[in-house]
């Protein structure tokens, strides 16, 4: 009774504390209906984030055949990305929440560490288990230090280079070699700057990426750190290695582009979506982005595309670094089952349905993302030349260490990367400043990694 009172009190305290942060978030109760265990009468509640243009309708359409087949109804609830962390965390701790929830791949270890989610270890062999997925993607279902499988990969995104084929043609560059490695990448941008200051009477900048305002800044920067031989953490995940010489070299590559004048500095003031729209609107010749942009090319209702940009989109994998290897960040979302769900079997059936090749492909098509399952990825990537390039990127993909503190470490890195780019835009590109910022990030990360239960 006392502990129950404490939980209620805590919920009130945390809830009120949270109201300031996410004013107006809808905290409607979402316990599963249907009390009888009979399979035909089950209604699952599923939390999903706004993945596609009509998140609820698209998903319900996808699930309709499942309900017809099994009788299991699914109540889809859309939870915004701005509040999902708080809500899933609170659901996991309080035991009142949905049966199944979507979670960002980098969030899975944290949620799993809270203890409110079911271990799917005994079941995943039904969908191919670890051998059915790219190892980097399967890594996102794990929690370092446990043997459990805490999630099932749902869909995948990767970063690749987007370029304007008309600009490259005008600059006399061959897309097949222009972005092969760091040197050619840097040189190609300089050539574009020199030869194609404008196209179709409209000025165009060679390259642009968001800076401190991008929530996914670390995903944009880490591929360069990896390509230089650096890493985010030591192999035992105990200390940060973001201030290693290799990591510094990776980050420096970006500041060099700013110094070259090929990286349009004003993009650093924008967030990810705004810069994406700059590329779509024809203001940038080269940009690094996710597969959803390719998906939006054919969507006529997406009027952020200028006609010139829409008809000249090309994709290439990220350039190889000094190590000779190229990497990209693999993100996306997984599905997790809450331990508090009274319908564990029905929830697993839903996950299994979502992992079938046909459904994986259908949903990926709706989202413009990649399927998470290897077999579905191969089929999906075979559709067009640009998707084929993306598939190469996905296969070069890497994910972060599955530790509960990752999201916080990422925040620390994001702050420093943002400052480094901001300083570079202001003309300060000294190695000492770069090292200072990365040392700061490492110090913060070490503090976060040292958190304990004591």
């Amino acid at each position: 009774m006392r502990s129950r009172f404490a939980v209620v009190l805590s919920a009130i305290a945390i809830g009120a504390f949270g109201l300031a942060a996410c004013g107006g978030s809808d905290n409607s109760s979402s316990t599963s209906a249907g009390t009888t265990p009979a399979k035909q009468n089950v209604t699952l509640t599923m939390w999903t984030m706004p993945n596609s243009p009509d998140p609820k309708g698209d998903l319900q359409g996808l699930i309709a055949p499942f309900t017809k087949q099994t009788g299991i109804k699914v109540n889809v609830q859309v939870v915004g990305w701005d509040v999902q962390l708080d809500r899933i965390r609170n659901a996991a701790v309080s035991g009142t929440g949905p049966d199944v929830t979507q979670a960002g791949t980098t969030q899975v270890p944290f949620f799993a560490a809270l203890g409110g989610f079911s271990d799917l270890n005994g079941k995943v062999s039904q969908v191919g288990g670890s051998s059915g997925y790219n190892p980097a993607i399967w890594n996102t279902t794990k929690l370092s230090g446990t043997n459990g499988t805490w999630a099932l990969p749902w869909f995948t995104e990767a970063r690749a280079i987007y370029y304007r084929s008309d600009v490259l043609k005008k600059a006399g560059l061959d897309p097949a070699t222009a972005f092969k490695d760091w040197d050619t990448f840097r040189q190609s941008l300089l050539t574009i700057k020199q030869k194609v200051p404008s196209i179709g009477g409209k000025p165009i900048a060679p390259f642009g990426q968001p800076g401190a305002k991008a929530f996914d800044l670390v995903h944009d920067m880490m591929p360069f750190v990896w390509a230089a031989g650096g890493s985010e953490l030591s192999s035992d995940n105990k200390t940060s290695t973001i201030n290693s010489p290799q990591a510094e070299q990776g980050v420096k590559f970006m500041t060099q582009l700013i110094q070259d004048g090929t990286f349009d500095k004003s993009q650093l003031e924008r967030d990810g979506t705004q810069v994406e729209n700059q590329f779509k609107g024809g203001h940038l010749a080269v940009w690094i982005g996710g597969p959803w942009v390719l998906g939006s090319v054919k969507r006529a209702s997406d009027d952020t595309w200028s006609s010139a940009a829409r008809s000249n989109v090309g994709v290439a994998p990220l350039p190889a670094g000094p190590t000779g290897k190229a990497f990209t960040f693999l993100g996306g979302s997984d599905l997790m089952v809450l331990k508090s769900s009274k319908h564990q079997d029905a929830a697993w059936q839903l996950l299994k349905y979502m992992a079938s090749d046909r459904v994986q492909q259908a949903y990926a098509n709706l989202l413009g993302m990649f399927p998470a399952k290897a077999s579905a990825q191969k089929q999906y990537g075979a559709q067009t030349a640009n998707l084929k390039e993306f598939l190469t990127a996905v296969e070069d993909g890497r994910t972060y260490a599955p530790i509960p503190q990752w999201a916080q470490v990422e925040n620390a890195y994001k702050g420093s990367f943002g400052e480094i780019l901001t300083n570079a835009a202001g003309g300060n590109v000294s190695d000492a400043e770069l090292q200072k910022q990365l040392d700061d990030a490492a110090k913060q990360a070490d503090g976060l990694l040292a958190q304990s239960t004591g």
């Binding site: 404490a6 305290a13 009120a16 003031e269 702050g415 835009a425």
Partner: protein, 333 residues
């Protein structure tokens, strides 16, 4: 804190009670209790509600500030291990702790932000009110127009200004550089050193109309005879402003000072909408820091300790304010 101004008028029976000084005060209290029974009953739900949504969470926050509540202990909530004063020590004195430098940055930024915003709002609001306090054609329309920034929600203010501040295509640099040539280069506003001004200026812009409205009401209540008499005695406009207008507006200045300082210190929406959850070391305010560390980084112990410190600071501010303006409030009633 404005207890003096909010005291209810004396109850009707008080006059007779004063005629009987020997009458036991307890009886009087009981009678007041009885006669106000309905009022107390009506207030009760609100009081219970306030305890649940205000008092208990505040106490919860204070308790958490002494706990080691982080990623690993979050599931235990109030069962998390005690941490003594460690959270406070780390924030205030531990220069090796990165949270300390973040706190110092945010404290400095919040101080700059609060001082400039409150000064801007009060001085600007009074200035505009003086300009508006005259009879001329179209003054009603102008006054209504002046109020528009006030009815725009903070989120909209921040997104609008976010577009306007963009260094390459934003209207502000267009005006400063392209149209008027006031500046030779395009300053960057949304990141780096200028970013604090990118949040200060929209905040003043949004706060001005309300201050203007209050001051205008105050100015219109100043008896014209005072000004006329002073003018006859040879007082110039500046003297009349400093000797008549300002002293009469003191209670209004006091109230606005109180509310604006608290409001500015607790500002969150404008920096976050304009610059994201981490506005960078030059524009990170106390609230953005606390919310980011608590809810994104799960450092609830740190967040609660910083919140408690901020709350104490506000308590000190209110106490200072009360001492400074107590007499004005008494005069105003």
């Amino acid at each position: 804190m404005s207890i003096e101004t909010l005291q209810p008028p004396p109850a009707g029976g008080d006059a007779t009670a004063e005629l009987l000084p020997a009458a036991a005060p307890r009886r009087r209290r009981r009678r007041t209790l009885r006669s106000h029974r309905l009022a107390y009953r009506l207030i009760l739900p609100a009081a219970v509600f306030m305890v649940i949504v205000h008092l208990l969470p505040t106490l919860g926050g204070v308790v958490i500030s002494f706990k080691n509540l982080n990623t690993f202990t979050f599931a235990k909530l109030f069962g998390a291990p005690w941490n003594g004063l460690e959270n406070y020590r780390a924030i205030l004195f531990d220069s090796a702790n990165p949270l300390h430098s973040g706190f110092v940055d945010a404290l400095r930024n919040s101080a700059i932000y609060t001082t400039t915003v409150v000064a801007g709002i009060l001085v600007g609001g009074l200035g505009i009110a003086l300009l508006m306090n005259r009879q001329m054609r179209g003054i009603r329309v102008i006054r209504t127009l002046m109020l528009t920034p006030w009815i725009v929600p903070s989120f909209v203010v921040a997104s609008l200004w976010g577009f306007m501040w963009q260094s390459d295509v934003g209207i502000i640099n267009k005006v400063l550089v392209d149209y008027t040539h006031v500046l030779g280069h395009r300053p960057v506003w949304l990141i780096g050193d200028n970013s604090i001004w990118a949040i200060v200026i929209p905040s003043i812009w949004r706060g001005l109309p309300f201050a203007m409205l209050i001051f205008l009401a105050g100015l219109q209540a100043v008896p014209r005879e005072l000004h006329e008499a002073a003018a006859i005695d040879g007082a110039g406009p500046w003297q009349r402003f400093t000797r008549i207008t300002l002293p009469l507006l003191r209670p209004l200045i006091a109230i606005q000072l109180l509310f604006n300082v608290i409001y500015a210190t607790y500002q969150y929406a404008i920096p976050v909408v304009m610059m994201g959850t981490n506005p960078g070391p030059k524009a990170d305010l106390m609230m953005t820091l606390i919310i980011r560390q608590s809810f994104s980084n799960n450092l609830f112990g740190f967040g609660s300790a910083a919140s408690v410190l901020l709350m104490l600071a506000m308590g000190v501010w209110v106490a200072i304010w009360y001492r400074a303006f107590r007499r004005d409030l008494e005069l105003a009633t």
